[in-house]
């Protein structure tokens, strides 16, 4: 008998997530290709160097729009409350999988909320610097250099976040990824990771 399921993400949420996620991966890989001669071969993903150079900012534009929609869709749930602060205080227990020592999380735990704000911040940085780099002829080369460095730094931070995100969402916490596939999670998963949210759902 199958377990009872809860709807965690609507279709819209899932689409937006994957648009942002996939574009970010492509952007990260081509960006790395532009930054590391040894990774230049990655540009073949988009049809070679010149094509990658043309497509990178265009994909970046999709990424930016996606990120904006994502922000609108998610932002209501992302404000930290008192339990979140307690959760943060117990983050090392969370990392150690000491479940009983972690204050119960709502739909999103404080880490996810911070992740959201960080990614939004990086998003702004990406888009702002990326736009300048997209139309470089309009700006002086000094400014462009700074922008290029910021863009690169943001990409590295974003890459780090991506690793964390993928790791936690897949192998570290099995059952999580399904929420982004058919949108559903098991009640058991919900009770484990987001007890306050599962409680609300069950009461209703």
């Amino acid at each position: 008998m199958s377990q009872p399921l809860l709807l965690r993400f609507t279709f819209l949420h899932r689409v937006v997530h994957w648009v942002v996620g996939m574009t970010f991966v492509v952007l990260l890989l081509t960006g790395l290709a532009f930054s590391y001669p040894s990774l230049f071969w990655l540009t073949t993903l988009l049809g070679g160097g010149p094509a990658a150079r043309v497509l990178h900012p265009q994909i970046g534009a999709v990424f930016g729009v996606g990120l904006l929609v994502m922000f609108v869709l998610w932002v209501r749930d992302m404000f930290l409350d008192a339990p979140d602060r307690q959760w943060l205080g117990a983050i090392k227990h969370y990392a150690a999988h000491e479940h009983d020592k972690v204050p119960p999380a709502g739909k999103y735990n404080a880490g996810q909320k911070l992740f959201f704000w960080l990614q939004s911040l990086l998003g702004v940085l990406f888009v702002a610097t990326g736009l300048l780099l997209w139309f470089p002829e309009s700006f002086g080369s000094g400014l462009l250099n700074t922008m290029r460095l910021l863009h690169f730094a943001a990409a590295l931070a974003g890459g780090l976040l991506l690793i964390l995100h993928v790791y936690l969402g897949t192998v570290a916490y099995p059952g999580t990824a399904r929420g982004m596939i058919d949108g559903k999670v098991t009640t058991a998963w919900a009770r484990l990771h987001h007890p306050r949210w599962s409680g609300e759902r069950v009461e209703r």
Binding site: P4, G49, A188
Partner: protein, 287 residues
């Protein structure tokens, strides 16, 4: 006949970092020599450059100078810059041919991420290959002389190629050919260095005590050299006093590259370590 187009370095390739002179040698190494004291600013070279390289005519307008364009562009690879400088009681009208200097240690090439987009030949020419260019403009940052220019239409970067198609068949570059006062000379670099020495002496005899050859060591020397009457006033000719092949912005990029590879590696390894340490965390199945 030696290969006039033997390659020395290719951007974003191992050869960019490891000079291969030892493997290929024997071809002529050329240089232009610009004698600023003989330049009358006629712009013949500017026009010849456009004519030979079939560069687009740009709509210019006088901005209060004898200078035609405010700046170089992807269609203006050579620009005569005019600068009026008062030195004591005397006026010096500094007129300088601004174009790629073809560094022996080309910062543009070192900065370029696209393999083959910038090629340095044994003969000294640093040539941009627009087919391979990804338009990232790292070369613009990499150039200590602020020479390469991005083209909005082609989304690639362009600069003087020393008329490589002429040099290949034994001709001098178009600017050299057209110079009416022989202010631009062309030849084997060693010969040009000897000529420069003579010219510096001539200038000193004429009272320019700071006359000097401009062949900056910070970029390994250049394949367009200048003989400058006021060697103590390089900035007035818009020539950097101490150019280096890897200027500051490029340094920042290099630091980030290194930090970045450590950071991402650290991220992956940490995740792996975490997994191995605490494993996955799955909910207990409801029964």
């Amino acid at each position: 006949m030696p290969d006039t187009l033997a390659i020395k370095r290719i951007s974003a390739s191992p050869s960019a970092l490891i000079p291969l002179e030892s493997l290929r040698s024997g071809g002529p190494v050329y240089s232009k020599l610009v004698d600023i004291s003989k330049c009358i600013g006629c712009k013949g070279c500017e026009v010849a450059c456009k004519e030979w390289n079939d560069l687009k005519v740009e709509q210019t307008s006088n901005f209060g100078s004898m200078q035609s364009h405010k700046d170089l562009s992807s269609n203006t690879w050579l620009l005569m810059r005019f600068n009026e400088v008062e030195i004591g009681d005397d006026l010096s009208w500094m007129i300088k041919k601004d174009a790629c200097l073809h560094c022996e240690e080309p910062g543009c090439l070192f900065a370029c991420p696209a393999p083959g987009a910038i090629v340095q030949y044994q003969n000294g020419i640093v040539d941009f290959n627009q087919d391979q260019c990804i338009g990232c403009q790292n070369c613009v940052s990499g150039c200590p002389f602020d020479i390469p220019r991005f083209d909005k239409e082609t989304k690639t970067v362009a600069k003087c190629n020393m008329c490589i198609d002429r040099v290949e068949v034994g001709l001098e570059p178009a600017c050299v050919k057209t110079c009416p006062t022989n202010a631009i000379q062309w030849g084997i670099k060693d010969d040009m260095l000897a000529l420069a020495e003579k010219k510096v002496e001539t200038m000193k005899r004429r009272g320019y005590e700071h006359a000097a050859l401009y062949n900056p060591g910070g970029v390994g020397g250049t394949h367009m050299m200048y003989v400058v009457p006021h060697g103590d006033r390089l900035e007035d000719y818009s020539l950097p006093a101490h150019p280096v092949a890897s200027p500051a912005p490029l340094g920042g990029l290099n630091v980030l590259r290194r930090v970045g590879s450590y950071l991402l590696g650290f991220g992956v390894l940490s995740a792996l370590a975490h997994f191995l340490a605490v494993g996955p965390m799955s909910p207990e199945e409801d029964s």
